[in-house]
């Protein structure tokens, strides 16, 4: 478990963060995914790769979190005991700002495809979506990244 943790923690945390844009939530989601893995070890088919299984949990939980969070923000101003997190401008880059403008569902498939390098078919299975939906979310996500103009600057423009 220690080796698995060392091998996959950073990827899981990064993927979670790029979807939720919240460091504390990303930490919880990544941690929760590993705890789920520990719980399910006996049932896990060891012939199957661990990485996509873990990432499936991470991205689905990250999506759940963003849905809950957006609901929470819509329900008046909550007197939370927790202080607000720093605004994205302080912690991110142009790419981060561009990503943040995407809907969470599009962010998730962009991250799965371009950070974690899963194929659209694999992403469709992980998120239990039709492959066409994955492709359209990818296309729309990339279009919107290009539209912002920031993505080009961060991507090809910086080379």
């Amino acid at each position: 478990m220690s080796e698995l943790y060392s091998m996959h923690w950073r990827g899981a945390y990064r993927a979670a963060f790029l979807v939720v844009h919240d460091a504390v939530a990303a930490e919880d989601i990544a941690q929760d995914a590993f705890l789920a893995a520990v719980d399910a070890l006996e049932r896990f088919d060891r012939r199957r790769p661990f990485r996509p299984w873990l990432h499936r949990i991470v991205v689905n939980r990250a999506l759940d979190w963003t849905r809950r969070e957006s609901l929470r923000r819509r329900v008046d101003s909550i007197e939370s005991v927790f202080e607000p997190l720093p605004p994205p401008g302080e912690i991110g880059s142009e790419m981060m700002a561009a990503l943040k403008e995407l809907p969470a569902e599009q962010r998730a498939v962009v991250v799965l495809r371009h950070l974690l390098e899963y194929t659209p078919g694999e992403i469709a299975r992980m998120l239990e979506l039709p492959r066409g939906t994955v492709n359209s979310r990818l296309r729309r996500g990339l279009d919107r990244l290009r539209e912002t103009g920031r993505a080009g600057a961060v991507g090809e423009g910086r080379r």
Binding site: Y5, W9, A23, V24, A26, Q31, V154, G155
Partner: protein
């Protein structure tokens, strides 16, 4: 923009990490894995044995230090969510009671009944109240008057006692309805009295000062609340002025059993299917076995055993599970970095499980009627926390005092006077 450039962009985005984020996760995951490899007996309550309680407390100390740092806000969520197995952010309103059942909640304006869907009703201007065994009625006290009410506030009967029967702010002085529904025990001045469930046959059971009652039969001046046997037999346990736990037949007044009580006992609970009595003082929790000794209606008291608590812990509240020998306790520690509180589930000499660790002070801890959840109150955060014992996520509800505000009075944080009833 090519796929490669996008991938590089995503990989190169600087990701904020609070100090030690990876190591924190590693400790928790490795501890969970070790637990998995070497499971303890006893199901959920065996998940945290004592060394792990110590580990958790050490971790909590570290976290308490972190909470005071600039990264505190970020870490605070982690304290709540990691230690509590993923308790969510607080929901803004009490929309339902997780696990069902009805709550009886006492505020400065009086007792409120909270239905499973979260709807609530103020019963009237009473100072203290408790449920009848099946939640069909509420017994409420104000001044020198004891009343039985329907859950919509309609009064069924009332009696005027010679002395005060309500002691505001003191949960220990609430009248208590027996599980059979036949009797209600209540404090009146310095007396412990019993009245039938229909408001008749009111009589003295014990007193702190009555010269006609032998010293060992007098009730303790500290007034530890009496506890009914949960078996349905109308047997009542109370602490005498001589510092003994005594079980009486409330019908005949016959003494059925007696044993030395925990010194400075302040709270007593008789539950676990009638097999255990919990005795609590600010620094100690003890469980005492109760069993029928040769006669089904004549219980015997066994030797009490202390439950393991962290050193220097102060017990704020404790409750015995309805059917099992599990004690939930709300405890507070003072460390150099400040106060922090925990909800722990304990079993004598065997295992302990930390359910929740928070900075500041927690209040009450109450078992759900089916014994599968705990309700912990957190006055400083104005929240109730519903914690499942098994799998599943805890739920936090914010703005509790506002939920029970009405009229002109400023809303204060309410007290839970009961969670009713088993389905």
């Amino acid at each position: 923009m090519s796929d490669k450039s996008l991938a590089r962009g995503l990989r190169d985005i600087p990701i904020p990490e609070s100090a030690g984020v990876e190591e924190r996760g590693r400790r928790i995951v490795e501890a969970a894995f070790a637990e998995r490899q070497h499971p303890t007996r006893g199901g959920l309550e065996g998940r945290w044995r004592l060394p792990r309680l110590a580990l958790a407390l050490g971790l909590a100390t570290l976290l308490a230090a972190l909470l005071l740092s600039p990264a505190g806000a970020a870490v605070r969520d982690w304290v709540d969510e990691a230690i509590t197995n993923g308790a969510p952010r607080p929901e803004p309103n009490l929309a339902r009671i997780p696990g069902g059942g009805k709550l009886l909640v006492q505020t400065g304006e009086g007792p409120w009944v909270v239905q499973p869907d979260g709807s609530r009703r103020l019963l009237g201007d009473y100072e203290t109240a408790s449920w009848s065994p099946h939640g069909l009625f509420v017994v409420a006290a104000k001044g020198r008057t004891l009343s039985a009410l329907e859950p919509d506030g309609t009064q069924r009967w009332s009696l005027s006692a010679g002395k005060r029967v309500a002691f505001p702010g003191r949960r220990v002085a609430s009248p208590v309805w027996s599980p059979s529904g036949e009797r209600i025990a209540y404090r009146s001045g310095f007396d412990l009295r019993v009245v039938a469930g229909d408001g008749t046959e009111d009589r003295l059971l014990a007193s702190t000062i009555d010269a006609g009652i032998p010293p060992d039969a007098r009730i303790s001046p500290a007034y530890v609340p009496p506890a009914w046997s949960p078996t349905g037999a109308d047997q009542l346990a109370y602490v005498t002025g001589a510092g003994r736990v005594r079980i009486l037949d409330s019908e005949t007044g016959a003494v059925l059993a007696a044993a030395p009580a925990l010194p400075n006992v302040t709270w007593m609970d008789w539950a676990a299917g009638g097999r255990k009595i919990l005795e609590a003082s600010p620094g100690t929790l003890r469980l005492r076995p109760v069993w029928p000794a040769g006669h089904p209606t004549r219980p015997a008291l066994g030797k009490a055993r202390s439950l393991p608590l962290p050193p220097d812990a102060s017990v704020v509240d404790a409750a015995l599970a309805p059917e099992r020998s599990l004690v939930a306790a709300s405890i507070t520690h003072w460390k150099e970095h400040g106060t922090y509180s925990e909800i722990v589930v304990l079993r004598p000499g065997k295992s302990a499980r930390v359910m929740l660790t928070v900075p500041g002070s927690l209040g009450q801890v109450v078992w759900s009627p089916d014994g599968r959840r705990l309700l912990a109150t957190w006055p400083g955060a104005n929240q109730w926390l519903f914690l499942p014992l098994g799998r599943g996520q805890g739920r936090a509800v914010a703005n509790i005092s506002t939920a029970f505000a009405s009229g002109q009075r400023a809303a204060s944080f309410p007290r839970i006077d009961g969670w009713c009833c088993r389905r």
